[in-house]
Amino acid sequence: MRFIACLFAAVLVIAATPGHAVDARTYAAMNRAAVEGHILPRYDALVAATDSLEAAAKSYCAAPASRPIADLQAAFGATMDAWEDIQHVRFGPVDWFFRSQRFAFWPDPRNTIGKQMAELLSKHAAGSIDVDLLAKGSVATQGLPAMERLIFGEDAAKLKSGADAAYRCHYVEAIAVNLARIARDTRAAWREGGDKAFAAVMLDTTKPDAPYREEQEATLELFKALYLAVELAADHKLARPLGASASDARPRLAQAWRSERSLRNIQRNLLAARDLYQTGFAPAVADKALDAAIRDAFGRVLSAAAALKQPLETAVQDKAARPLAEKLAAEALALKKLLSDRLPPALDIPVGFNALDGD
């Protein structure tokens, strides 16, 4: 190889795509609308929900034998709502320090949560659980799924009486404190620090350390979040418990079967995706027929979810309800395909053929 003496050859940019149909100002406007109108309010809501959960956990654990657990379960539900409303954002501060996984480790095909919780609970002689240690330990034992196991189903009674009741309540409180910290830290990193706040650096591509070099890159990140919300619902949260047939259905593969929230989570995910689309993307979609088709697809999938009147956990094995669950899965798939096939070209977002994870 005859490399010439100069070590750095000129960088030649090859313009492999035709000129942008969408200009940088439009991308910037989309990004700002998505961040300010969709993401930030949802982290605010997550902080509020986890604060309430922390208060509810402390209140319940002050007198677990006499207080009803329903209030704590309701606060858990409100926190999971708030999380499912923003879980599709996997970039930025929630990606730091494994926050996303620590908040809600899912899916868990190896039952890591169950195994590691059993180990933690076997140490109840220790008396209390240190929140800092919990946060620095396994991602599986410190989030919503761990709390769900402690406060729903048969285990809920173990908070009230039994050898390790006090320890279990300490654990519930520690998780609640941990979740509130994660939510606050995430929101703070998005909002605080002036021009160092993630919202500011995400929207300003001119800084040398800006995470996105062009407005279009940030739009691509937002598109991935939009797509992820629908993809997880269609391919994982619905397809897995449904199986190929009623006899093949596996209700315990539903995301939150212990609290029977699996369908509700899917609804929150789809509503969140619709909000992100309408807030961030729709104003830039010039093709009004496409915009109408996407809105229609969201409408159909949400109607299908509303038509399912029983928990997903039982519907998948129920002769009468299963077709409704299948209809929901089909509508979710159709929406996913519409978003992946039509939206990137319409907005000139470069979803690379080769940029898929792991390839």
Binding site: M1, V11, F353, N354, A355, G358
Partner: protein, 372 residues
């Protein structure tokens, strides 16, 4: 299973093995005149593979039932295997010169192809990186070309998510990059252990699958998924990685491992911070040039190819092209590259990166491989 393989392999003549080994190195095609390249592609309505010359002129295309990924090439250039993209259900054996399909290998029960593979030096056995669908564990499936490509066994890769593998220049050692990510067949492409990854580079004895060595990134870099490899003229293994952690972490993305030295750790190749950040934490493909001294690593997310002089340990070139990923050595010097928009490029330090051909109906897939 492992014993069965051992038994079958030891029946082969060790002498014939060693005899062919001498023919192996990268120079084998230097005298062969025109070079033929392979690259899988997607197009409206389907997938396929194409063979083309050094100017990017397509010689033939073969359809594939699903999206392809990379290829294993037999040393004599008369046989090649295209692997489907993970989780892959098939591999296609074909004649890369004539452009004719020979046989389709279906993935074994509870096994998925990972998209890469390699032949033994004598061309008799084909190894393919595979995962056990129900557990995510990595294995090398072993196929016997002389027995109608029967799967005669498998050996562990000692890690999850094995991806690219190559035969080392000694003709006896296989090197495999374990991506370290837990994935399962029933949850396609979902990453299940990001906080708990364990990537590694492993060296296995091609004769019995014995583990000869394993090297891992330091604990704080365990989210560096080791995925693609190239071997330089000194037998050192270059590893191109993908970081699963936050976008802003300043992590190294390309490492060099001196395999014969074995015990040595990974040496991360230097790159200017602007270039490192520009890779977007994602390396897509790695290739050596004909001299075995210059390493090219592509990033389809960063829209660029970086080239290092491994003798000087210095980065010597950047070429930018959108969604560029496939790279392979050009005859004598420089690299050929392909991208997801159907373009082909030539990359040399003299001329920089320049477009050679445009096949606008095709989207070139991640890997370009020299066929003959």
């Amino acid at each position: 299973m492992r014993w069965m393989v051992t038994e079958m392999l030891t029946r082969r003549s060790a002498l014939s093995w060693l005899g062919v080994t001498a023919l192996l190195p990268l120079t084998v095609h230097a005298a062969a005149g025109e070079r033929l390249y392979l690259n899988a592609y997607g197009e409206k309505g389907g997938f396929g593979l194409a063979a083309f010359d050094g100017d990017g002129r397509i010689r033939y295309q073969l359809p594939l039932p699903q999206r392809g990924h990379s290829f294993a090439r037999r040393a004599d250039g008369r046989m090649a295997v295209a692997f489907s993209r993970r989780p892959g259900s098939f591999a296609l054996v074909f004649d890369p010169v004539a452009g004719t399909a020979i046989r389709t290998i279906a993935a074994a029960e509870d096994r998925d192809f990972c998209g890469h593979g390699a032949f033994t030096a004598d061309g008799r056995l084909l190894f393919a990186t595979e995962v056990v669908g129900s557990t995510g564990d990595g294995v090398l499936g072993i196929y016997d070309a002389a027995a109608d490509w029967a799967r005669i066994g498998e050996v562990a890769t000692h890690g999850l998510d094995p991806h690219e593998m190559r035969l080392m220049p000694d003709g006896r050692t296989l090197v495999v990059a374990n991506g370290g990510i837990l994935m399962r067949a029933d949850m396609p492409r979902l990453k299940l252990n990001i906080a708990d990854m364990d990537p590694s580079l492993v060296y296995l004895d091609a004769r019995d699958g014995r583990l000869l060595g394993q090297v891992r990134p330091a604990t704080e870099l365990r989210q560096l998924s080791m995925r693609h490899i190239a071997i330089d003229r000194l037998g050192r293994v270059a590893v191109a990685m993908q970081y699963e952690g936050p976008e802003g972490d300043p992590v190294p993305l390309v490492a060099l491992h001196d395999a014969p030295a074995g015990a040595a750790g990974l040496e991360y190749l230097p790159m200017p911070e602007a270039e490192r950040a520009g890779m977007r934490q994602y390396c897509g493909s790695a290739a050596m040039d004909d001299s075995g001294r210059y390493l090219a690593v592509s990033s389809p997310r960063g829209n660029r190819v970086l080239v290092w002089d491994l003798d000087r340990r210095s980065m010597v070139q950047t070429g930018e092209a959108r969604d560029v990923c496939g790279i392979a050595a050009q005859v004598r010097s420089g690299f050929l590259a392909s991208n997801g928009l159907g373009r082909m490029f030539s990359l040399t330090t003299e001329t920089g990166i320049g477009e050679l051909a445009a096949h606008s109906r095709l989207q070139w897939d991640n890997h370009m491989v020299i066929a003959s």
